[in-house]
Amino acid sequence: MKYVARLLCLIVTLSFAATAVAEQSQELFNFESEQQRRIYAQLTAELRCPQCQNQNIADSNAVVAVDMREKTHELVLQGYNRQQVLDYMIDRYGNFVHYQPPVNSVTIWLWLLPVLMLVALFLFQLRRRRNVDEDDSTSSEVLSETATKAAQQKALLSNELDHIIERYRSKKL
């Protein structure tokens, strides 16, 4: 009987799920001011559920997410501001729990690396372009220079060959 009731409830919930997206958290919380309500909504959207990993605590119905929502509500009512609630959660669950990681010596690379890669790519491209330009302007000179060198070498070689032939002949005779 209990299971039938649960199943019915599930079906009803699912059929309303599409319209309920904006109001994910099931608890009905009371707040003393609009500002508190706003802070609560903001916090539950940016706190990450430590159990289900890729959901914020507003979206998740894991036990720990429900507990964290209740705690957030309690702390907001006690007059905690956004940063104080965040610190409370980070004290317990680590930086993992906040969707905005702090900038420190490890995470700074997330921002630096793309910029560095862009700069490196730009410099590389610049160098390549300059090399190509230099190649173009110097190519004819280089070509003629190597040609004359090759001709000189060829002349030297044939000269030497003549010498050898000469010596060979003179010995034989």
């Binding site: 209990k2 649960r6 430590p50 159990q51 507990d67 317990r92 669950y93 680590g94």
Partner: protein
């Protein structure tokens, strides 16, 4: 120069492959151990079987122990009861349970019934093994939240002065115990 440049894409590719490969073996549940090095948070909670007995950080001091967050609703917790009993009996590991109560849903007529819970826990421990010196009942899950517990099973190693020395998310099996937890436990328990 040109020759070294030729190898740059290969090196980049190998580096990226190794980085991604290491990701395949990392545990996504692994988080920064925030609690490690800190004293146990303040609490005052009843014993599960004997509610007149109240436990607090002071009453637990004196000997290092393994704090196991668990519940009979959690299949993995039940599965590790056997191995942890072995640890208690063969290696003398002091194991204290922190019983994690699931919230009841009044809409379905669920109410917290301590007597029924005690009976259920007792029969579960008889069936699978009882590794616990005693169990602390965390009905509101306040201590669990202060410890940064995200679910069950989770384990903490606490030294004789009440300082948390390790936080392990997930079950304890022979491999995890030998590779990760035993060295830390032995270091703080002062046993061979």
């Amino acid at each position: 120069m040109r020759k070294t440049l030729f190898y740059v894409p290969l090196v980049l590719f190998l580096g990226l492959s190794l980085f991604l490969l290491s990701g395949l073996f990392s545990d996504p549940r692994e988080r920064d151990a925030v609690m490690v090095g800190k004293p146990l948070p303040a609490f005052s909670l009843p014993d599960l079987m004997n509610p007149e007995q109240v436990w607090s950080p002071e009453t637990l001091k004196g000997e290092a122990f393994l704090l196991n967050v668990w519940g009979i609703w959690c299949p993995t917790c039940n599965a590790e009861l056997g191995y942890m009993s072995q640890l208690r009996n063969e290696q003398g590991v002091r194991i204290i349970g922190l019983y994690y109560v699931l919230p009841e849903d009044p809409m379905f007529g669920e109410v917290f019934d301590l007597a029924k819970l005690q009976v259920d826990v007792q029969s579960r421990l008889q069936a699978f093994g009882d590794p616990y010196q005693f169990n602390i009942l965390d009905r509101q899950r306040r201590l669990s939240m202060d410890l940064g517990v995200s679910g069950a099973p989770e384990h903490f190693i606490v030294d004789a002065k009440g300082i948390v020395r390790a936080h392990h998310i997930g079950d304890i099996n022979p491999q995890v115990w030998r590779a990760k937890l035993a060295p830390i436990y032995q270091q703080w328990a002062g046993k061979p």
